[in-house]
Structure formats: C-alpha cells, structure tokens
C-alpha cells in the first residue's frame, strides 16, 4: 500500500512538473534521461534479473533508430509505422541471435563476447552500407514526428512508464521467478523443470524490443543518426546507468540514468571527460557500491528506521 502511494506520488509529481518549470533546458534533460532510463530498465531485465550480460542492447537500440528512418522513407509507412516495423525487425534479429547463443549454452563471459561480436558486426554494417546509412557521416533527420519539448516530455514519460509496468509485471510473475532462478543457477533451474532456453530467450528478446522503442524515440528527439549509437560506448553507458542505479529493483536503473544524463549538462563536460566519468563510475559501482544508489539508500533507511 505504502509502495503504491509512493509510486502514485512520483507519477503525479512528474506529470505536474511542466506546470512548475517551462524551462526547455530542464525538460530536454529529462526527456533524454527518460529515454536512457527505458534503455537501462530494459537492460536490467536481461542483466539484473535473468543474469545475462548482453552486449547486444546498444545494437538493438541503434538498429531500431536506423530502421525507423529507413522503413519510413523507403516503404512510406510514416514515423509510427517505422517504429513498429523497426521493433519487429529487432525482435526477429534478437530471436535469431539469442537462439544461437542459448542453444549452444553460452554463459556469462562467453555470452557477452558473442553478443559483443554480433553487435560489432551490426555496427560495421551500418558504418559501411553507405547507400542506405550514409556511413560514418550519419543522417540528419528532417522529419519532426512530435512537436515541441513539452510534447516530447509526455511521450518520453509515457514510454518510460509503459516500460516500467511491462518489466514490473514480467518480474513479478511466474516468468520473473524463472529469470531469477536462471541467474542464480541455471543448471539447477533446468533440473527443476524450468525451460532455461525459452526463458533466457524471452528475457533477451523482450529487453531488445524495449531498447528498440527507446532507440526509435531517442534518434528523433536528437534529430540525427550516427553509427556511434551502436558502439561499445553506448553499451558501456547502459551498464554504468544500471550499476549506478541498482540492479535489484525494476525502477532503480532510472536513478542511474537521471544522474548520468543530467551530470554532463549541469557541469559542462567534453566528450572525453564524459567517457572518463562513465568509466570511473563503472569501476566505482562494481568495487565500492555493488548495490547501486537504490541499494545504498535502502540500506540507510533500514538502519535508521
């Protein structure tokens, strides 16, 4: 009951926020943070709950961003048609990649390396398919499917809310228990009658589809497409957000996304410094604060309550 009240309070505050500030600056940061938050929350479903360190998440994000534009342009389905088709494409690719990895029982590090390899192949394809993607120069998106920062704010907030609800429902279902069992000991899960292959594939594909939606929105809010969307740096950013926010609660990665998105805007960072800060936060959260902000805060409250 308390949790429900808290959630309602946060939701109401976020819905009412544009009444308090009309500042384009604040809203822009929040839109980026919400979209990155979608990415982090969906990654956490795969990594934090099902225990699979997928390096394919950035690829799903970037492929969808490019595919939305290309479907919209070449098939004439418009932006929203492109979004749906891009998600379908990413789902299909994820099923294939996931099925290959899980059928051959690749675990932990080997899973990470193979998904990284697929991700790099996707990046190289985008980088070199000049006629479609304009190579390393990227594409400037002329189309404005959603107009004004305020409209974007509500779209991004809605998308994040849907992602959170979907993940929450998944995690707190029979399937979520199966994910956790797989993370803790997949061989034991197998002997207990959990179809390890199927649930790993479900977690991986569901995470990728949500990343795809995030990618379609992100690229159009940014207004441009570039191969860097699929790079290892993007993966690194996602992992840093999840580790900083916390892995053991569905909404915790959003905290990490907020901090890491707002930080470079508040203090003026160059791209190099930002990458440095991301790396340092990654190391810091692994070695010093493995529970993330959420875990540390929860511990603090428990101690004082």
């Amino acid at each position: 009951m308390k949790r429900l009240a808290g959630t309602a309070l946060v939701a109401a505050a976020l819905l009412a926020l544009p009444l308090a500030t009309q500042s384009d600056f604040v809203l822009t940061i929040l839109v980026f943070a919400f979209l990155q938050g979608m990415l982090a929350v969906s990654f956490n479903l795969v990594f934090g709950y099902a225990g699979q360190l997928s390096m394919f998440h950035a690829a799903a994000f970037g492929i969808a961003a490019y595919a939305t534009h290309l479907f919209g342009k070449h098939l004439g389905v418009g932006y929203w048609g492109g979004v749906v088709l891009a998600a379908a494409l990413v789902a299909a690719i994820s099923v294939v990649v996931g099925a290959i990895c899980f059928r051959f029982r690749l675990r932990e590090f080997y899973f990470a390396v193979v998904t990284l390899a697929f991700s790099e192949m996707a990046r190289l394809t985008v980088l070199n398919w000049n006629s479609m993607t304009n190579g390393s120069l990227g594409i400037n998106l002329q189309e404005r499917p959603i107009d004004g920062t305020l409209a974007w704010y509500y779209v991004a907030l809605g998308a994040l809310a849907i992602t959170l609800v979907v993940c929450w429902r998944l995690v707190h279902s029979w399937m979520g228990r199966a994910f956790v069992a797989i993370r803790l000991n997949d061989e034991l899960g197998d002997t207990l009658g959990i179809n390890v292959f199927r649930y790993k594939l479900v977690a991986f594909t569901a995470g990728s589809i949500m990343a795809a939606f995030a990618g379609s929105l992100y690229a159009y809010f940014l207004g441009s497409l570039e191969p860097g969307l699929l790079s290892i740096d993007t993966s690194l950013g996602i992992i840093a957000m999840v580790l900083l926010g916390g892995r053991r609660a569905v909404a915790a990665p959003v905290l990490g996304a907020l901090v890491l998105t707002a930080l470079p805007h508040l203090i003026h960072f160059s791209a190099e410094i930002r990458s440095l800060v991301y790396g340092a936060i990654l190391i810091f959260s692994i070695l010093v604060m493995p529970q993330g902000i959420y875990g540390a805060a929860a511990q603090l409250i428990r101690r004082h309550a």
Binding site: F104, F109, L276
Partner: protein, 286 residues
C-alpha cells in the same frame, strides 16, 4: 597474383605476432586470475605512446625507449592490479566490467593528453629487404623476430623454471599449488604485471610501424581475445598460433572480400569457434 597472396601471407603473419603478444597476455591472465583483461589493449596503447614519447620527445635511442615503455606499462599494470583487479579475481563478469571501465578512463586520458590527431614516430630502421620478389620493410622483420623470441622465451620460462611450473600448477589446482608453497597472491599480481608488460612491448613495437591513435587499443584487444579463444584459451603457443591465423585470414581475406568488412571476418570466425569448438581449434589433440 601469387606474389600478392604471398605478400599478404607474410604481412598477415607479422601482424599476427602483434595480435599474438597481446593474446599471450590475455591467456596468461585468464589462466592465473580467472578474468579476461580487456584493458590489455589500453596498456598496449599506453606502451605505444610511451615509446613515441621517449623516442621523439625525450630523444632516447629507440631500443631504450622500448625498454622504458615496457617499464611504464608494467608499473601501470601493477597499479591497476593493486587498486582494481585484486578485487575481481575469478569473477569473469565483474572483471570484464572493471576492465571496460578502465578502458574508458585511460582512453579518455589519452585523448585529452595526446589528442585524436594520429602521431607518427620517426622512421627507426628505414630500408627494405627483397625476399624472392617480395618487398619487406626491415623494421617489420625485426619486430617479427623480436616478438617470436619473446613468446618462445615465455614458453621456455613457463616450462623450465620453478616459477613457470608453479604458474602451471596454480592454473590446474590453486589449492594444491598453495599447499606446495606457491605464493599465490604474488604469483597472480606478477602474471598481471607481466601481461601488461607484454602488451606494452607490443605497443612500443607497433609505434615503429604504424601511426598512433588513442583508440588503437580497443581494436587490438578484440583481435587478441579472438586470437586467444581461437586456439584455446590458456595455451601459450595457441595464443601465437591464433594471432597468426587471424592475421593471415584478414590479410588473405581482404584480397577476395570487401576491405571495409575486414574487422568483421575475425568476429565471424570467433563466433563459429565459440559455438562449435568452445575449447579452441586444437582441443582434444594434446
């Protein structure tokens, strides 16, 4: 055409030894500390820039600059081990994440200090050798010979000396090795530092052949991990062989297949190996 292929074969083998020296570090670190140190690529970059700095800015003769560069990377490796990797022993995922973080930090530092403009070192050993109609720069041959020597010396040290055999014993059974008097903590740190030094050597030699960019490490570490896994992780000669196979495949492959995707061939190879022969290409033949 045969000349082109022969040229690419030789070139591939030489580049392959560069992959091999980093792959050797990957293999040794994995065998002894149970993590795959992706940051070795960054140590290679560090070694390359250190060699360039000592040779061109300080003005040391190149061989001394290489030694200094190896010293610098080994020291950096020791610092990284004591501050970071000591806490991630035998935890593959945490080790991977910490090394990814270290890559981001060091690469950003290199970009800030050296900028993204490629650096070119003065020609150390100009001149070419004609070999049956093939033109080979002298320096490439020197690098090739030097790297082969280091790899085989490492192999000899591992099989012939007490410390080397202790390392083998530790890789097979850590508890038993500890009971037999192997100082395990020191062995682990030593191997991490040695691996970083090897990567630094690779980088210092790389500096004499190609131009330097802060991102060179990221490219090389992927190749090195591919090479290490290709021939079976944990094997010293396998690291060399894996590197050479990879280098030759890329060299010869780029004659027949589009050049833009050169970096992808190794990845395809890696995925196939991990799927069908996860213990490496030569597993089950020992």
């Amino acid at each position: 055409m045969t000349q082109l292929i022969a040229g690419q074969l030789l070139n591939g083998a030489i580049v392959g030894t560069l992959y091999g020296i980093v792959a050797l570090g990957v293999t040794l670190t994995f065998g002894i500390t149970g993590i795959v140190n992706f940051a070795l690529g960054v140590f290679m970059m560090l070694g390359a820039y250190a060699a360039w700095y000592f040779a061109d800015t300080v003005g040391l003769p190149y061989p001394l600059a290489v030694l200094a560069a190896v010293g610098v990377t080994a020291a950096a490796g020791l610092a990284a081990d004591q501050a970071l990797f000591r806490f991630t022993r035998n935890n593959l995922v945490n080790g991977l994440l910490v090394s990814l973080g270290l890559i981001a930090v060091l690469e950003a530092c290199a970009l800030l200090v050296f900028t993204a403009t490629p650096k070119e070192m003065h020609r150390v050993l100009p001149g070419i050798v004609m070999l049956g109609g093939l033109v080979l720069p002298k320096m490439k041959l020197v690098v090739f010979a030097l790297l082969l020597t280091v790899i085989f010396a490492t192999y000899a040290a591992l099989t012939r000396t007490w410390t080397g055999r202790a390392a083998y014993a530790y890789a097979q059974n850590p508890e038993a090795a500890a009971l037999m008097g192997v100082a395990t903590a020191r062995l682990q740190s030593g191997v991490v530092v040695y691996s970083c030094g090897l990567a630094g050597l690779g980088g210092a030699l790389y500096a004499a052949l190609y131009s330097l960019e802060p991102t060179l490490g990221s490219l090389f570490i992927l190749k090195a991990v591919e090479a290490a896994i290709l021939a079976g992780i944990g094997s010293v000669t396998g690291a060399l062989l894996g590197g050479v196979i990879l280098g030759v495949t890329e060299g010869v492959g780029s004659i027949y297949l589009p050049l833009a995707f050169r970096d992808a061939y190794g990845l395809v190879f890696l995925v196939l190996i991990l799927l069908f022969k996860p213990a490496g290409l030569f597993a089950g033949r020992r």
